[in-house]
C-alpha cells in the first residue's frame, strides 16, 4: 500500500551540496520544496562538537559518516568479461550518507576547472591533432565555456567563504596566485590559510626550481565569514581532523555551515530524512516525471508527486536511480551508444612521504583538509606542451599534510617493518618530522569504463546494485609517471633525509583497497547532443525535461582538480537557468 503525499512544486533527491543549494534556490523562488535524504539528520551540534568530532577510529576508520556497505554497495570489475564483486570496505571511493552528504566529510579543496577543461576534446584535437587521442578515449566537450560558468563558480566560492590567493583577477596576473587559472571576477572571499611548515618547505623548493607555488584554494575559511544567505562560518584552526570528519569550528564549507541554517527558516521547504528514494516515476509518455517513490523510516513506500524533480544524490547513486527508473538509454560499451552509465572516470594519485631529521619540526598535527597546503599547477590540464610526452591531461602537485592522525597519517620510511619494536621506533622518530608531496592526476574517459546495474547483487531493499567496470589505461600510467618524476625533482630540492613513493605502474590494476582521491565522475554526462550526453548544459535531462541531474555524474571526463568547485558552479548555473528560464516556461531549455 503506497502512501500518497500532497503534491509539491519540486522534490529534491539527496540533501548534500547540490540538493541543499537547489532546495534553497527554488525556495527563494517561492516554490514549495521537499528535500528527501536517505540518511539521518545531523548537524555540527550535537553531532560534531569538540572534542568528540576528533575520533579517528569512529570516523576515519569505521566511516561513521558513510553509507553502511552492508545496506548498499557497488560491485566492481576491471573488464566487461569479468564477474563483478561487491565493494566491502571503504578505501578507493566513499559513498556518502546522511544530511549534508559528501559535503560534510570532504577536505574543502575548492578548485575551478581550467578553461580548457570544459572544451577538453576540441582543445586537445586542435592543439595536437585528432590522432593524439588514443582510439578508445571518449572525452567530450562541455556545452558551455569557462566565461559562461565563471559567475557561478564565483558564487559557490562566495557561498563557502573559500580562502585563497587570486592569480588572475579579470585578466591581471597577480603574484602568489595560480598563474594558470582562468580569469576570476573577484578575489577569494577570505585570504589564504597560512602555509603549514611542510608546505612551506615544498614551496621554497618549487620556487627555486622556477615553478609558481600558491596556497591551495580551500573551503576552510581562514577567518569568520558571512555568506549571501546570511549564514556565518567560523575560522579554521588547522586541527588536523577534516576529511571524513565533521568540522567543530563551523569552518569547513558544507551544507550545514553555508545553506541549511537559512533553508531551515523557509516555511516553503520541508526536509524529510530517512527517506530512501527508489524510483523517479514517469507518466505514460515516459517524457515527464510525476514524482518520486521512496521508502520511509518505517519501511513504508511513499509516493511524493512533484512538478519538478531534482536528482542530486551522490554520483554513483544518480546513475543507479536513472537506470532503475528507466530514464534515458543505458550505455552499451560494445557500440558506444546509449548515455546512462557512460564515461565513468576516476583519478590517479602518486604519494611521496618525505622524512627529515629531528632538527626539522614539521609538527604534522597542525594541518587542515585543504588550507595551509601549497600547489603547483604547471603540469595540470593543458598547462604545458604535451606533444613530446604522449599523454592527455595531467594533475597538480601538492605539498604539505592534512593532519597527523595516529592511525591513517603516521608515515614511516620504506623498509620499516609493519609492526613491532622497529615500527614503533620509526614511528616515534619520524612522526614530528615527516610531510608529503602528492600528485593528483586526471583520469580520462574510455569506451570500456562505464556503469550499469549488476545482474547478481542487490541492496537490502532487493534493488540491483550499481556495477562499476573500470581499469587503468596507458594514458594515465604515462601521466602519473611524468608527474611523479616532477615530484621527485622537487622533493630532492627539499633536501630531506629520505623519501618513499607509492605510484601506479603499467600492470597495476585498479585496486579498491587503496585510497586515492575518492573522486568518481560521469555516468550522466552533460553535452550538446542527446545522442552523446544524458543532460544538457543546464543539467536538464534530454529525455525528461522536468528532471535535472546535478553533481559529478555530469562530468564527461575527470579533471586533475578536486571536483567540488566545478560541481558547485554547475549547480548554480543550473539553478539560475531554472529560476530565470525554466519556471517561466517549463520545457526543454535546449532544443535537441
Amino acid at each position: 500500500m503506497t502512501i500518497k503525499m500532497k503534491p509539491v512544486d519540486a522534490v529534491v533527491i539527496g540533501m548534500g551540496w547540490t540538493g541543499s543549494i537547489l532546495s534553497m534556490e527554488l525556495a527563494l523562488e517561492g516554490l514549495n520544496v521537499v528535500g528527501l535524504e536517505r540518511g539521518e539528520y545531523r548537524d555540527t551540534s550535537p553531532d560534531f562538537t569538540y572534542p568528540k568530532a576528533a575520533d579517528e577510529l569512529k570516523y576515519g576508520i569505521r566511516g561513521d559518516m558513510l553509507r553502511k556497505l552492508s545496506k548498499e554497495s557497488v560491485t566492481v570489475r576491471h573488464n566487461e568479461g569479468d564477474s563483478a564483486v561487491p565493494y566491502r570496505q571503504y578505501n578507493a571511493f566513499l559513498l556518502p550518507d546522511n544530511l549534508g552528504g559528501a559535503g560534510m566529510h570532504w577536505n574543502g579543496q575548492h578548485y575551478r576547472p581550467s578553461p580548457e577543461d570544459l572544451k577538453f576534446r576540441s582543445h586537445n584535437v586542435q592543439r595536437y591533432g585528432a590522432n593524439f587521442l588514443p582510439a578508445n578515449m571518449t572525452i567530450q566537450d562541455y556545452d558551455l565555456t569557462y566565461e559562461e560558468l565563471e559567475p557561478f563558480l564565483d558564487k559557490f566560492e562566495y557561498l563557502c567563504g573559500t580562502s585563497g590567493q587570486a592569480g588572475n583577477l579579470n585578466g591581471t596576473m597577480i603574484n602568489g596566485g595560480n598563474p594558470f587559472e582562468g580569469a576570476r571576477s573577484r578575489p577569494y572571499p577570505t585570504p589564504p590559510v597560512p602555509n603549514i611548515y611542510g608546505a612551506e618547505l615544498f614551496a621554497q623548493a618549487a620556487r627555486q626550481m622556477g615553478y609558481h607555488p600558491f596556497p591551495q584554494p580551500s573551503a576552510n575559511c581562514s577567518q569568520p565569514y558571512t555568506n549571501f544567505y546570511g549564514v556565518r562560518l567560523g575560522p579554521c584552526n588547522l586541527c588536523g581532523f577534516c576529511e571524513r570528519f565533521g568540522c567543530f569550528l563551523y569552518s569547513k564549507g558544507s551544507p550545514q555551515t553555508t545553506v541549511l541554517p537559512a533553508l531551515r527558516q523557509k516555511p516553503n521547504f520541508e526536509l524529510r530524512t530517512q527517506s530512501w528514494v527508489t524510483r523517479i516515476n514517469l507518466d505514460n509518455t515516459g517524457k515527464r516525471a510525476i514524482g518520486v517513490t521512496y521508502i520511509n523510516a518505517g519501511g513504508e513506500e511513499v509516493f511524493q508527486p512533484a512538478d519538478l524533480v531534482v536528482l542530486s544524490s551522490f554520483q554513483l547513486n544518480n546513475v543507479r536511480l536513472m537506470l532503475m527508473s528507466g530514464i534515458g538509454t543505458p550505455y552499451d560499451p560494445s557500440t558506444g551508444k546509449g548515455v546512462i552509465g557512460k564515461n565513468f572516470a576516476y583519478q590517479m594519485m602518486s604519494a611521496t612521504s618525505v622524512f627529515y631529521d629531528k632538527d626539522v619540526p614539521i609538527n604534522p598535527f597542525i594541518g587542515a583538509g585543504s588550507g595551509g597546503s601549497v600547489i603547483i599547477d604547471e603540469f595540470n590540464s593543458d598547462h604545458f606542451d604535451h606533444s613530446k610526452y604522449g599523454f592527455v591531461g595531467g594533475g597538480y602537485i601538492i605539498g604539505g599534510q592534512t593532519g597527523g592522525r595516529p592511525i591513517q597519517q603516521l608515515a614511516v620510511p620504506s623498509g620499516t617493518p609493519a609492526w613491532g619494536e622497529a615500527w614503533k621506533r620509526a614511528a616515534k622518530d619520524n612522526y614530528l618530522h615527516a610531510t608529503s608531496v602528492v600528485s593528483h592526476g586526471a583520469v580520462q574517459s574510455y569506451q570500456d569504463a562505464y556503469l550499469d546495474l549488476d545482474p547478481t547483487y542487490r541492496d537490502t531493499l532487493g534493488n540491483p546494485l550499481l556495477r562499476m567496470t573500470f581499469d587503468w589505461h596507458d594514458n594515465e600510467y604515462k601521466m602519473t609517471q611524468f608527474l611523479t618524476d616532477r615530484v621527485h625533482e622537487i622533493v630532492q630540492q627539499m633536501k630531506p633525509k629520505s623519501y618513499s613513493t607509492l605510484m601506479r605502474k603499467p600492470g597495476d590494476h585498479f585496486n579498491v583497497r587503496q585510497y586515492q582521491t575518492t573522486h568518481v565522475t560521469g555516468g550522466i554526462i552533460t553535452g550538446a547532443d542527446p545522442s552523446s550526453s544524458a543532460v544538457n548544459r543546464y543539467l536538464q535531462s534530454w529525455d525528461v525535461p522536468n528532471l535535472f541531474v546535478t553533481g559529478a555524474s555530469a562530468f564527461p571526463q575527470n579533471i586533475g582538480y578536486n571536483p567540488t568547485g566545478l560541481i558547485g558552479g554547475l549547480t548554480y548555473f543550473a539553478a539560475n537557468a531554472i529560476r530565470t528560464q525554466y519556471l517561466k516556461s517549463p520545457g526543454p531549455l535546449v532544443q535537441a
Partner: protein
C-alpha cells in the same frame, strides 16, 4: 525547558512573606499599588487591521511568546511549566478562545491583568507575570495589545493547568499584599533627561516597561521584589542579578562587570543577532533574542541601547586593560599557571590563547562582563552545559559550545574558570571546586564519565 522562566523564583519568597506575615515593614519602594483599574472598561478605539498589526509588534516587544507559547505547542496557548521550590505553575492560555483563553475578557479586565496583576475574579497573579514592569506600558500600546489578542491571534482550546502548589502555600491573598507593597503606579516610564531626548525616552519606555529587562537584570530585595524598577529607583536598577543559576549581567556603565566598554552599536547588534564582537547570548537571553529583540525595529533597538548607555557605573571599578602576558606565556608553551593546560586543551581552539575569540562567532573571554562578574555562576554554568547562540532571521547560524560536564571534574572546571577570570586583564576572584560542585548539583549536570 523548565528553567525558561526565572522570575517565578519569586513565588517562594512570596509564600515566605505570607507565612511570616506582612506586618514586617518592608520598605516598599513605591506608593501603594495605585488604583486597581476598571474591569468593566471597554476598548475606547475601534479594532482596525492597523491596530492589530501594531499590537502584534507590542506583543513582540513584551516577549509574550517566551512564556505563553510552550515550545512545540500552539502560539500563546500557555502550558509552559515553571518549576519553583514549592511546586510547578503553568503559564496561561492567552488566545481569544472564549472558554479556555481570554476571549471573554473585557478591555478593562485585560488591562488590569497586564498592568496591575489582577485576575478577572479580583485575585492577584503570581508576579512571574512581570506586571510591575508592564505597569509602564502606555494606553495606546495596551489598546493595541488587546486588539491583537482579541482579533490577531488564532483561538486555541486548551485548558489552563492549575498550579501544582499545595495548601497553605497555594493561598493567593499574600500575593495581593505583595502587589500592594511592590507594584508601581500604572504610568508610562520616564528616565532622567527624557524631556530633552526623545530617543532616551523611547528607550526608557521599552526597557522599563514592555521589555521588562529588570525582571532578570535587577537584583531583588527581601520580598523578592526588584530593588528598583527605574533608574530613579537607585543604582541597583539593571545592575545584575542571579537568575536560574545564571548571573544576568550588569547592564550599567561598569567597565569590567557591566557594559561600560560596549558602544550603542554593540548593544544593537547583540539584540539583533545574539552576538557581537564581545560576547554571545546564553541562558534566558537566547529566548529574549529569539522571540523579541531580533524582530524589533532598528530605531527601537537603538533607543534601548541609548537608554542603557545612559546608566552610569558604580564608579568603583577600574577600566579593563588588556594584558598580553598570558597569551605570550601560552604561546611559549608555558602552562604553569593554574588551569592553563586545561584551558588550552578544552577552550583555546575557539576562544584562543589570547582570549579574544572571534567576532560574532566565538565570544571573547578577555574583558567579558560575564567572566568578570562577582558571581561566577554563569561562567561555571556555561562550561558545564555549553550553550547555543539563537538563530535569527538575519543571522541564521546557531553556534554551539558543547558542555564539558561529562569531561571535566569540579576541580578542573574551577581551575579553568579561575584561569579565565584572572587572565588577559580580567579581574575575577579565584573559584574553588566546591563552588563548581554546587552549580553542578543545582543544574543537575552530569558527572565526568572518565576519572583522570
Amino acid at each position: 525547558m523548565a528553567s525558561k522562566i526565572t522570575p517565578l523564583r519569586v513565588v517562594a519568597g512570596l509564600v515566605i512573606l505570607g507565612v511570616v506575615g506582612l506586618g514586617v515593614a518592608v520598605g516598599a519602594p513605591v506608593a501603594f499599588g495605585g488604583d486597581s483599574g476598571n474591569p468593566s472598561a471597554s476598548l475606547p478605539v475601534p479594532i482596525t487591521p492597523a491596530l492589530i498589526q501594531r499590537g502584534s509588534y507590542v506583543a513582540v516587544e513584551g516577549d509574550c511568546a517566551a512564556c505563553h507559547t510552550n515550545p512545540g505547542g500552539q502560539a500563546f496557548a500557555g502550558g509552559l511549566p515553571i518549576n519553583t521550590p514549592i511546586g510547578a505553575v503553568f503559564t496561561s492560555n492567552i488566545t481569544p478562545d472564549k472558554q479556555t483563553g481570554i476571549g471573554s475578557w473585557s478591555y478593562g479586565e485585560f488591562e488590569r491583568a497586564v498592568r496591575r496583576g489582577v485576575r478577572p475574579d479580583g485575585t492577584a497573579m503570581y508576579p512571574a507575570m512581570p506586571f510591575p514592569s508592564y505597569a509602564h506600558i502606555d494606553d495606546a500600546d495596551m489598546e493595541a495589545l488587546y486588539a491583537y489578542f482579541s482579533k490577531g491571534v488564532q483561538p486555541v482550546v486548551q485548558q489552563d493547568k492549575p498550579a501544582n502548589i499545595p495548601w497553605p502555600l497555594s493561598m493567593r491573598w499574600p500575593l495581593t499584599w505583595w502587589r500592594w507593597f511592590f507594584a508601581p503606579v500604572v504610568q508610562p516610564a520616564s528616565a532622567p533627561g527624557s524631556a530633552q531626548d526623545a530617543e532616551l525616552a523611547r528607550g526608557a519606555y521599552l526597557v522599563e516597561g514592555l521589555e521588562h529587562c529588570g525582571t532578570c537584570h535587577t537584583d531583588r530585595g527581601i520580598g523578592l521584589q526588584e530593588l528598583a524598577l527605574t533608574p530613579q529607583g537607585g543604582p541597583a536598577y539593571l545592575a545584575g542579578a542571579v537568575v536560574d543559576n545564571y548571573s544576568a549581567s550588569d547592564l550599567r556603565g561598569d567597565p569590567l562587570t557591566g557594559l561600560g566598554r560596549w558602544s550603542e552599536q554593540d548593544i544593537v547588534e547583540f539584540l539583533q543577532t545574539g552576538h557581537n564582537s564581545k560576547t554571545a547570548a546564553f541562558g534566558g537571553m537566547t529566548d529574549v533574542v529569539t522571540h523579541s529583540t531580533s524582530h524589533m525595529q532598528l530605531s527601537d533597538l537603538q533607543a534601548i541601547a541609548h537608554f542603557i548607555k545612559s546608566l552610569p557605573g558604580s564608579g568603583q571599578e577600574q577600566a579593563f586593560v588588556y594584558n598580553p602576558a598570558v597569551a605570550l606565556e601560552l604561546q611559549r608553551g608555558d602552562v604553569s599557571a593554574r588551569g592553563a593546560q586545561d584551558y588550552l586543551n578544552n577552550c583555546a581552539s575557539c576562544h584562543l590563547s589570547s582570549g579574544a575569540g572571534y567576532t560574532d562567532t566565538f565570544p571573547a573571554l578577555a574583558g567579558n562582563p560575564v567572566v568578570n562578574a562577582a558571581n561566577p555562576v554563569s561562567l561555571i554554568h556555561i562550561v558545564l552545559t555549553g550553550g547555543s547562540t539563537p538563530p535569527t532571521a538575519g543571522a541564521p547560524t546557531s553556534f554551539t559550545m558543547p558542555g564539558f560536564a561529562d569531561r571535566l571534574s569540579d576541580q578542573e572546571v574551577a581551575d579553568i574558570v579561575t584561569f579565565i577570570r584572572s587572565s588577559w586583564g580580567n579581574q575575577g576572584a579565584p573559584i574553588d571546586a566546591s563552588t563548581v560542585a554546587g552549580v553542578r548539583k543545582a543544574i543537575n549536570a552530569p558527572e565526568p564519565t572518565l576519572s583522570k
